[in-house]
């Protein structure tokens, strides 16, 4: 509890005790008149002086019709009508409610901050042989920092000494630790678990991952959702409306009784009913619980490694109908690997003869291809070299000639070798057998004789298929894949993971056009999600209703352009994000409906005189407490994981 809260608590207890004592005293010595009023004034002023002060200042500043005004007028009115104990009780319960609210909000605030407890407090640097702790803000780029086991990595950098396992769970929600060794890049916010690391920083603290993430989460509640805007607009109209309603309730019925029904005006009854009306109408349950729900929802999502940049995006996620994926790097690993080596069997013997003897023909073929491509930096060449287990002796290669868009010719151990695509084979007039498997095919010929081919392709991510089916289950109507890759590859990937619609061979500008078409095709209420790896998808990410960037660790561009950032590469997290957002919105609607219904019911009951001050207090404080408790449910992620 803060000091302010403690002070309120003491005031509540004092006033409550005084009220009890007063009731006991009155039981034995029935007092009346001014003395009784003065005795009630003591607890009333203890509990309500700040409300009265604020109400007074509000009136002076022209800010009438706020909560303080409502409470002041209701309680002063009750006391003026001789309902002393009710007057004090309303103030007392109002303060209890306020205290509870401020405690609950403070608690969830710190809960959420604890979820995001990744801010490092210090960095260790070496100075004259000693380790010194300095604030992470003071570390410069290129400086060496030391991270001991159990400590958080304070800044992004590269390991220059030591190896360890690193826990990234605070950033990604992934509980399996990663291995890191000298030369590896590490990001701030992870926890070093086992070994001592020396890290050369590559970014300043303000630019480091941890600062960016914290900044993003802290600013997320600034982008308000439609529901939040609705409530603040609603409150602006609602409070004055209720005050006018109450004033009419106090004045009209008595006048009507006097002039039309020839009855006693019964001013007291109607004014008291109007005051009850005022107490019921307090809008705090809505005003507090809805931002709290969104804040909790965003906090829970960050705990799962899903960063949502604003309440508006959390809200939009729940309305998602279409989802569009980029292929490479999003549904697939984005890394090219040798999948298969086909050797032309009739020529296998010759292959053996030409080059390395006594080895499986597949390995020889791969070795030839890797050797021929050993000087190229093309991604295909890199994957060939990676697949070849042998140490490549580059001295065996001579006369390398690379033809852009075709391939490479070279002389290996004196044999003429050609490695490349179909165009190269045609150009050299080599009779090859066309391979129709989707992927990139590298044909290999030795001394103008076709030897076989190597299939290189991207690998589909482990979770992609599951992710798509989870999305479909969660009510996504259409799944689309856009890719710059060729049709055969795109279709085989799409079939494998069960995607509804595939568009291939697209240039970046075509992707935007495709998204535009889809945007105009869907109905207005549905939202379109685009998921990309954030590297060259920025225009599409911005164009879609919700842009989700994947594998954002370390990619600043993605964090900038996207609305939602998945901290690990797992496409399954999208369905989880949608689930979280739906639950959050569900809780928001529950609170809106519940609060408005109870209030409307109590208002009617209050106006006809069935509901007394006590019901009014429940309608105000009770509803707020329930709404706040309900809102804190958004923090719980266990059931959804």
């Amino acid at each position: 509890m803060t000091r302010k809260q403690k002070k309120t608590l003491i005031r509540i207890l004092t006033a409550a005790v005084l009220m009890v004592v007063l009731q006991v005293v009155l039981h034995f010595f029935p007092l009346t008149g001014l003395l009784l009023l003065l005795l009630y004034m003591v607890p009333y002023l203890i509990i309500g002086y700040d409300i009265l002060r604020k109400a007074f200042l509000g009136i002076i500043h022209g800010e009438i019709f706020d909560e303080n005004f409502l409470m002041a007028i209701a309680t002063v009115g009750a006391i003026a009508l001789g309902e002393y104990s009710e007057g004090v009780a309303v103030m007392l319960f109002y303060q209890i409610g306020e205290l509870f609210q401020s405690y609950a909000v403070g608690k969830s605030r710190s809960n959420i901050t604890a979820l995001m407890d990744i801010r490092p407090d210090y960095a260790n640097i070496e100075k004259n042989g000693d380790i010194e702790q300095i604030p992470p803000e003071d570390v410069k780029i290129g400086q060496t920092i030391i991270v001991r086991p159990g400590e958080k990595i304070p800044l992004d950098g590269v390991i220059i000494e030591g190896s360890s396992t690193i826990n990234t769970s605070a950033l990604t929600g992934e509980s399996v630790p990663r291995d890191a060794e000298t030369g590896d890049e590490v990001i701030s916010g992870c926890v070093n678990m086992t070994g001592l690391l020396k890290i050369q920083t590559s970014k300043e603290f303000g630019e480091s991952t941890v600062s960016k993430i914290l900044d993003l989460v802290e600013n997320s509640s600034m982008k308000k959702s439609k529901s939040e805007n609705f409530i603040s607009k609603f409150a602006r109209v609602y409070t004055p409306a209720v005050c006018i309603g109450a004033a009419l309730l106090a004045v009209l019925p008595p006048l009507a009784r006097m002039f039309f029904m020839q009855m006693e005006p019964a001013w007291g009854t109607w004014v008291f009913r109007a005051l009850t009306f005022l107490v019921i109408s307090c809008p705090c349950a809505l005003v507090i619980s809805i931002p709290l729900s969104f804040f909790g929802g965003i906090g829970a999502a960050s705990k799962c490694g899903i960063l949502v940049k604003g309440s508006n995006y959390l809200e939009a996620l729940s309305e998602a109908g279409y989802i569009v994926f980029d292929k490479t790097g999003t549904l697939t690993e984005g890394v090219f690997r040798v999948q298969k080596v086909y050797v032309k069997q009739e020529n296998a013997e010759k292959l053996d003869l030409f080059l390395v003897k006594g080895k499986p023909a597949e390995e020889s073929l791969l070795e030839i291809a890797a050797l021929a491509e050993s000087y190229s930096s093309h991604p295909i060449s890199i994957s060939l070299r990676e697949a070849c287990k042998e140490d490549l002796n580059k001295d065996r290669v001579a006369d390398i000639e690379e033809t852009g868009g075709h391939g490479v010719t070279a002389r290996i151990d004196g044999n003429e070798v050609a490695v490349g695509n179909a165009k190269l084979m045609n150009k050299l007039n080599i009779a090859y057998e066309e391979c129709t498997v989707p992927g990139t095919i590298v044909y290999v010929a030795v001394n103008h004789m076709y030897m076989g081919c190597i299939l290189i392709s991207d690998v589909i991510k482990e979770n992609s298929k599951e992710a798509i089916s989870a999305l479909k289950e969660s009510g996504i109507r259409k799944t689309v894949m856009l890719t710059g890759d060729n049709k055969a590859v795109a279709e085989s990937v799409g079939r494998e993971i069960n995607i509804d619609e595939i568009h291939s061979e697209l240039l970046p500008a075509d992707k935007v056009a495709q998204v535009e078409t889809l945007l105009s095709e869907k109905n207005a209420k549905e939202k379109l999600i685009f998921v990309g790896d954030g590297i060259n998808d920025a225009p599409v990410l911005t164009r879609a209703d919700i842009g989700i960037a994947m594998g954002a660790l370390g990619s600043d561009a993605a964090i900038e352009a996207a609305d939602v950032v998945l901290m690990d590469d797992d496409p399954k997290k999208i369905a989880l994000a949608i689930k979280l957002s739906r639950r959050c919105l569900g809780i928001v609607y529950q609170n809106i409906v519940f609060a408005l219904l109870v209030k409307a019911l109590c208002l009617i009951l209050g106006a006809v005189g069935i509901a007394n001050m006590w019901i009014a207090i429940f309608a105000d404080v009770g509803v707020m407490v329930i709404a706040v408790l309900n809102a804190t449910r958004t923090l719980n992620t266990k059931k959804l994981m």
Binding site: K4, D50, R53, K54, L57, G58, H61, E63, D66, E67, E98, Q101, S102, V105, R109, I112, E218, N219, S221, M222, K224, S232, A235, P283, C284, V287, I288, P291, L292, F295
Partner: protein
């Protein structure tokens, strides 16, 4: 020019009122208040003295919510 300030305020409704008051202050292009993080983000008009503007913002906020505070 955009800056974020820590604020002190008790209720969500008051925070909304502060936001409105800040928005209407001269020299402020836009302002958002997050009750949850107790922060106010202010976008200033070009070429104004932030400190002077923030003093005016605080004054305007005090008017609608006497107990509030902004860490300028």
């Amino acid at each position: 020019m955009e800056k974020t300030y820590k604020i002190e305020v008790d209720c969500a409704n008051c925070a909304a009122k502060m936001e409105e008051a800040a928005k209407n202050t001269e020299g402020v292009a836009d302002a958002t208040v997050s009750f949850m993080t107790l922060k106010m983000k202010v976008t200033f008009d070009d070429g104004v003295d932030e400190k002077a503007v923030m003093k005016k913002v605080l004054k305007a906020c005090r008017k609608v919510e006497p107990d509030c505070d902004i860490d300028i």
